[in-house]
Symmetry: C2
Subunit: 338 residues, 2 copies
Amino acid sequence: MIIDCHGHYTTSPRSHEAWRTEQIAAHAEGKAAPPRPSISDDEIRASIVNGQLKLQQERGTDLTIFSPRAAGMGHHLGDATTSEAWAAACNELIHRVCTLFPRNFVGVCMLPQSAGVSPRNCIAELERCVLQYGFVGCNLNPDPSGGYWKDPPLGDRYWYPLYEKLVELDVPAMIHVSAACNPAFHTTGSHYLNGDTAAFMQCLTSDLFKQFPTLKFIIPHGGGAVPYHWGRFRGIAQDMKLPLLTELLLNNVFFDTCVYHLPGQELLAKVIPADNILFASEMIGAVRGIDPESGHHYDDTKRYIEQLPFSPTDKAKVYEGNALRVYSRLSARLASAG
Amino acid sequence: MIIDCHGHYTTSPRSHEAWRTEQIAAHAEGKAAPPRPSISDDEIRASIVNGQLKLQQERGTDLTIFSPRAAGMGHHLGDATTSEAWAAACNELIHRVCTLFPRNFVGVCMLPQSAGVSPRNCIAELERCVLQYGFVGCNLNPDPSGGYWKDPPLGDRYWYPLYEKLVELDVPAMIHVSAACNPAFHTTGSHYLNGDTAAFMQCLTSDLFKQFPTLKFIIPHGGGAVPYHWGRFRGIAQDMKLPLLTELLLNNVFFDTCVYHLPGQELLAKVIPADNILFASEMIGAVRGIDPESGHHYDDTKRYIEQLPFSPTDKAKVYEGNALRVYSRLSARLASAG
């Protein structure tokens, strides 16, 4: 089985995103949000059959761990109340996708975060998504301010209430920023990658995984700059008299394979242990074109993996085993889906 | 000749850095800064002979393009006046090093930037350093706010007055942030790399090099996350209907080799044309230890370069030719130093 651990519902029905625009506009005017649009199962089916499902079949992957559009989370917009309503709407839609296509999609939720608002606010929605919807993880935004980095780093006690719930539910978090509203950053070109690198370093400089030894983070986009600068990070940890990164972080931190060219994938596979790499593509995401150098979609990451010198055992870990291990609830979820 | 294009005076005499602390403390109290300390040539000689020069000789490099300590620039501290005095002090010290060791060090200046203050303020100091001291470039901080990213992106007209002067003087800028005062970032672990990635993307999304076709930027630390995600950047440019990155950026943007392990260097050499790579180590910088995996200093980057499959022509470009081309004033400077 090939599990793509990083998919967002980027093809969701237009009325869903249109409602968000109306919701934020209403909030700005101090008015109540309009009623949510009615979205039929057929609309959802069409958006999936011609989108993610089509590419799953074309590319030969089996299952996508699926969450709301990351750039659309927009935790810097509105306030705690709008975030709560928007997260609930987005997660419900993911639940409907997973219910309609239970063999192809398993849900991961977005959280109702807001800049400067305690992550305690996220616990109820996380619990609802995991216990009622059968979701297997969440996306955690380390910068709800959208590129101004105003919230405390991930090692801070500020985040502990959420971590306690993640540990209790035994679900991992993918550390994923949303759209940048800071003109210094391009959302998918720099803010995403910088979020990944910042998050890794926040983990490195904290005692987070001493406090929460079973907490698991997936750092997406191939870990931002981290594998490319693995020597730098090893050296910084060493200068700080910390243990080896394998011991300090790699029981808890995992990287996905959203790297859109072969040399980058080769590097990732060379420096990061196979136990810490999870197959992913974030397809229909940041990069949608066909690479003229390969003749294939940049984000068809399976093609790169197939060219890497993984042993059969390691390849099985990257494609399936690690995902089943990191998303502890996934096996049960798949069994229940037949 | 082996030219290391990225060295900072991290071993400067203590009294120099102590004065900075006093200057900022005095500023906070609304008082005048104390008089600058008197630093003897012998103090400077000792700091260099036992520091950068020793490592040049041990590692077999010839010349370091040398600038004030990057983390020490601290453009988020004080105001325009303190920045001006501090930049002048730091640059003068670099000038003294280059005068004492004219065959080993050539100067690059820091700029008296301050968050929210027009870069016009930097022109006089840049001109002074290039025309009076014979410096061959400058370090330009794309985020004088120290991790809050409050200034406009590099493509904005805000920066044009400085670019006009860089073009007129025919000197390049290394895009280099300073210390992070935002707790979300670790200065050398995430802020430096994120600054590199953000700067590259700011160039990609602007018409900067159409406006300034002869402007040259060096993006340090191996280009942050850029080469690792070269496919992502190629694909984003393609989705935006922009020209190929080679055409759009690589006549103006260069990467250094401050990547502290062999797999990262291999990637850099594989994806970035040799014409755009400048040898550098940033030695006695971010990572000071010995890598137990290689038995050598992480930042002894020449050892990695020697293991790469560069042709002799390409290796000569990386070690020398590109630096002489990018730092247009360097040849004349070296000739005058004999």
